[in-house]
Amino acid sequence: MAYTGQHVTSIRTYVTVFLCLMALTALTVWVAFMDLGFMNTIVAMTIAVIKALLVVLIFMHLKDNPKVLWIAAGGAAVWLAIMMSFTLADYLTRPASYLGGW
């Protein structure tokens, strides 16, 4: 893919993304006060990941950038996932008395 550094995102797109982020913020606050058990954490983190993707892809222009930046951004996600999953594979498989729940 050719480098498209001069690609100018329209104001309408930026404002639409901003309004989506506002709506998702309202949604996550609203859901937080409903008792969904451990699903509260899952829903909150899913919404946060969607918000982060909107910021990365549109506001940070990753969508229109060369693949080398995708490798950098993807690398951060992969290494973070390795750190989180390997550590939790230890802690979450310990005896129940060790854990307090979610």
Partner: protein, 228 residues
């Protein structure tokens, strides 16, 4: 090639385009290590929350959801204004760059001001970690769905320590960011940017958006997931 004569082109680059790609890649790589930097704190928070669930629920009731939500709106708003500033850079409009930088500066200052109010409240309530930390379940965690009387105050103190470490590191990034905004505003006021050369605004935008993303995760983790 007229751009080869640009004063803004460093001698080790062939073209402005190549220079701009290099600056973007450099900032992205910096942000990758920032993800690791914050990632350690997030991991620690997740592990301790799984171990001391009730105490962390009690702890999240110490925080003010309204102020946290307000700050989320303010910070995402500042992401929009800095995106507009970068857009003005692409179009080579120095006055617009300056104006949107100023708007970002104001929103960043509002965020830090609210954070200051929250920190001051914790201080007056004796909720700063340390020898004067005093947790009163009935007073501080009313409405929590766990038995807050039964939790160990030291584990609530651990939650508060994570709160201050994570939001404090985040606020430090914002203070550095505000310093950089001032520097960029001076350059924009001197009409230093053009559609060929606005990389400083662009890479600062990446940094500011990253700080926004960190808050997008901090807000639910610290303020929200224990509230129901």
């Amino acid at each position: 090639m007229s751009e080869a004569h640009s004063n803004n082109l460093a001698h080790h680059f062939e073209t402005m385009e190549q220079q701009k790609q290099a600056s973007s890649l450099g900032m992205w790589l910096f942000l990758v290590q920032e993800v690791m930097f914050f990632g350690g704190l997030f991991l620690g928070y997740v592990v301790y929350r799984s171990m001391y669930h009730d105490a962390f629920i009690a702890g999240s009731h110490l925080l003010n959801v309204k102020l946290g939500a307000f700050n989320t709106v303010v910070l995402i708003g500042s992401s929009l204004t800095i995106a507009f500033s970068v857009r003005a850079g692409q179009l080579g409009r120095n006055r617009q760059i300056l104006g949107w930088l100023a708007a970002t500066l104001v929103l960043g200052a509002v965020f830090l001001g609210v954070k200051g109010v929250e920190y001051a409240h914790k201080y007056h309530e004796h909720l700063m970690p340390g020898p004067h930390f005093h947790y009163d379940a009935a007073q501080h965690s009313a409405g929590a769905h766990v038995d807050t009387e039964a939790v160990d105050p030291h584990k609530v103190e651990l939650f508060v320590s994570f709160y201050f470490a994570m939001t404090g590191l985040h606020a430090t990034h914002m203070i550095i960011g505000i310093g950089l905004i001032v520097w960029l505003m001076v350059k924009a006021a001197r009409r230093r940017f053009s559609s060929d050369y606005y990389a400083p605004v662009e890479v600062f935008g990446l940094y500011w958006h990253f700080v926004d993303i960190v808050w997008i995760f901090l807000f639910p983790l610290l303020y929200l997931i224990g509230r129901h």
